[in-house]
């Protein structure tokens, strides 16, 4: 930094360290588990109840989270992490979520065809013919392999598909 001639204070990046953010989230999760654990009896040391171990582990998790947050000095700043692929990731997750919702309603093969056509055609912008060929090929070949050859139970939809 000093080599560029820029004043040190002006060049120092600002923001929350990724480990500090993660540590705080971990502490909050530990507190949440501890709070939810009130529903289960802790018992006593000679006869620990179902709430004993979750409380113990949540306590340990909280301590680790606190130490991670306190020792976050060398971790990268949260806003410097490259999230460029996250948009595609979110689209893929939503597409998978819709597929899961449809799986037992319209059957395995139709769901896979729809998912693959969407991912290949819309997300990856492949030409329609190859996308359709891959989608139909994958759905029918994988169904044959798993459901017919390996006897794995897969859901069927309308018209037995």
């Amino acid at each position: 930094m000093s080599g560029t001639g820029t004043p040190e204070t002006a060049a120092t990046p600002r923001g929350v360290r990724s480990d500090r953010a993660a540590g705080i989230v971990i502490v909050l999760v530990a507190l949440l588990v501890g709070w939810e654990n009130r529903a289960y009896p802790i018992g006593h040391l000679a006869e620990p109840g179902p709430g004993y171990m979750p409380l113990l582990i949540a306590g340990a998790l909280g301590v680790f989270g606190l130490l991670i947050a306190l020792r976050a000095g060398t971790s990268p700043l949260f806003n410097t992490i490259d999230w460029s692929e996250s948009r595609r990731g979110i689209v893929l997750l939503i597409a998978c979520g819709v597929a899961v919702f449809a799986l037992e309603r319209i059957g395995y093969r139709l769901t896979m065809i729809a998912l693959l056509v969407f991912v290949l055609g819309v997300v990856e912008r492949k030409r329609p013919l190859p996308a359709l060929l891959v989608a139909f090929g994958f759905a029918f070949v994988s169904y044959y392999l798993f459901a017919t050859v390996l006897n794995v139970q897969l859901p069927r939809g309308p018209w037995g598909l």
């Binding site: 990724s18 480990d19 953010a21 993660a22 971990i26 999760v29 289960y40 009896p41 006593h44 040391l45 000679a46 006869e47 620990p48 109840g49 179902p50 004993y52 171990m53 979750p54 582990i57 949540a58 340990a60 998790l61 680790f64 989270g65 991670i68 020792r71 976050a72 060398t74 971790s75 990268p76 992490i81 692929e85 595609r88 990731g89 893929l92 997750l93 998978c96 979520g97 597929a99 899961v100 799986l103 896979m112 998912l115 693959l116 991912v119 290949l120 997300v123 990856e124 492949k126 190859p130 891959v134 994958f138 994988s142 798993f146 390996l150 006897n151 794995v152 139970q153 897969l154 859901p155």
Partner: protein
């Protein structure tokens, strides 16, 4: 010795049955392909294949899955050497000198040494497994709940100390995994915990949706949209033959890698990954010309490749002898055995000798199959990498949904996988290792049961953990590890991970 040989003969009589040979071969082929494909590591590959093993007999199931496991170890090296793409994490170190050799026109010898090293390490480790596992199993019969508690806690500390990143982060992830493992019916009281009215959660969270989500799906979320891989070299059979000098240079690293990998494999954690990093560091340190490392040193291929294959075999020792998985891969394999009503643990070797010795013998067979597959057929396998990733990852995504759903025909499992995929993505972006979560999830019921039983046995005194010699020894090891972890903080020295080139701890 005679007993071992007699048992091994029994094992070969099982492993050489045509049906088992065929499944061992199929497992090795699938594993090699899985290891080569970026986005599908051995864990995701095994998890996806798990439902297909339910209809098979337990010996065939474990032989098939073990074939996938060490096949993936072999397969990962091919893409590392030829394309600088580690098909799975343990092959990262092979990329450095393996790809440098490819650039210098020595891809063939690099592939050959990787395959030979893997074969030698794999075979030597099976010999060690054969002698060590029964001994450990008979010793483990002395274990009660306090010893199991000490063993599991020591395992978590070893895992956190040996892992590449921060010890605190590893422990936090292990604790998170333990909490995930507490969802569902409490075995001792019958209470259903943290299920929030979802009946499907009463049985707890399965390892398969968690493993596929954390490792398979998160990898896809990280890599989807990447550019097409570079052009691939396909060496001919003649080009595979290493020079005499290269052979000589490789003998030491292969021997050291085999020993080191097996020892690291026995302890919990991502042993095959750690062993390859440690082996590379040791070889660089022992070399008279360390400057060659990074520029195509054959030792940088021979050591890590031998170590990761030896570690893959070493991981089976506690799995078979104690019924304790040392990582997510062995946890899924234990699940495969348990589906067939077989209880893993110290009694497995005496009660199911065909299973244990058949498995050991099949590993010898598998190593030969892999040597044959990986040398002459390497040109054939790399064709798979010509498929553009934009076509490959949607298919892997569909396989993830298919594999997870078919384990118990549960849509809830697929939702868990999606949640874990997103969680795994966030963890990897922020420098957290997801493997301890899977390990914690698996070990959680065992740890909870042993802690509560120990306390009940002692009338509520924690002193029981320090009354018994085996437990004391294990806690002593744990204490030493904590001191070792604190040492670099106190004396401002580099710890072993920084010295071997692993990530610096936070």
């Amino acid at each position: 010795m005679d007993g071992v040989l007699g048992n091994l003969m029994l094992g070969f009589s099982v492993a050489l049955q045509p049906s088992i040979l065929a499944y061992a071969f199929a497992g090795c082929v699938i594993g090699t392909l899985v290891g080569m494909l970026p986005g599908l590591g051995p864990l995701a590959g095994i998890s996806l294949l798990l439902p297909a093993t339910f209809g098979l007999n337990p010996i065939i199931a474990i032989v098939l899955l073990a074939g996938v496991y060490y096949g993936a170890m072999y397969g990962g090296s091919t893409t590392s050497i030829l394309m600088r793409i580690p098909g799975e994490a343990a092959s990262v170190m092979t990329c450095i000198d393996g790809y440098a050799m490819t650039q210098r026109g020595r891809a063939g010898p690099a592939l050959a040494i990787a395959a030979i090293g893997s074969f030698v390490a794999g075979t030597l480790s099976v010999v060690a497994l054969m002698f060590l596992a029964p001994t450990l199993a008979s010793f483990a019969l002395r274990f009660g709940p306090p010893e199991y508690t000490a063993l599991l806690l020591m395992g978590f500390l070893v895992l956190s100390y040996m892992s590449g990143g921060s010890m605190l982060k590893t422990l936090a992830m292990a604790a998170a995994g333990l909490l995930f493992g507490m969802i569902g019916i409490d075995a001792m009281s019958g209470y259903t915990r943290f299920s929030y009215g979802f009946i499907e959660l009463a049985d707890g969270i399965g390892i398969v949706p968690v493993a596929v989500g954390l490792f398979g799906l998160s990898e896809i979320l990280l890599t989807a949209g990447q550019t097409t891989p570079p052009a691939i070299q396909r060496p001919t059979l003649r080009q595979l033959i290493p020079s005499l000098e290269e052979m000589k240079l490789s003998i030491g690293p292969i021997s050291r890698g085999s020993l080191l990998g097996f020892m690291i494999g026995i302890i919990p954690g991502s042993a095959h990954i750690i062993s390859s990093f440690v082996s590379y560091g040791i070889e660089r340190r022992m070399s008279k010309h360390p400057e060659r490392f990074g520029n195509g040193a054959i030792e940088g291929v021979a050591g890590p490749e031998s170590a990761n294959n030896a570690a893959a075999t070493g991981a089976f020792v506690p799995m078979l002898a104690l019924g304790i998985p040392t990582g997510p891969v062995t946890a899924v394999m234990l699940a495969a055995i348990m589906v067939h009503g077989i209880s893993p643990g110290p009694m497995l070797i005496t009660q199911q000798p065909e299973l244990f010795w058949g498995f050991v013998a099949s590993m010898y067979v598998g190593n030969v199959v892999l040597l044959i597959l990986n040398l002459p057929l390497v040109g054939l396998f790399v064709n798979l990498l010509r498929i553009p990733y934009s076509y490959l990852y949607p298919a892997i995504l569909c396989f993830c949904i298919l594999g997870v759903y078919s384990v118990s025909n549960s849509v809830m499992d697929v939702w868990i996988m999606l949640g874990m995929g997103a969680f795994g993505y966030l963890l990897r972006k922020t420098g957290f290792e997801p493997a301890p979560i899977a390990l914690g999830l698996i070990l959680s019921p065992m740890l909870e049961l042993s802690v509560r039983q120990s306390l009940a046995m002692s009338g509520g005194s924690y002193g029981i953990f320090f009354d018994r010699p085996i437990a004391i020894a294990m806690f002593a090891v744990a204490g030493v590890l904590i001191l070792l972890a604190l040492k670099p903080l106190v004396f401002k020295k580099k710890d072993w991970r920084e010295q071997v080139g692993l990530e610096k701890r936070a």
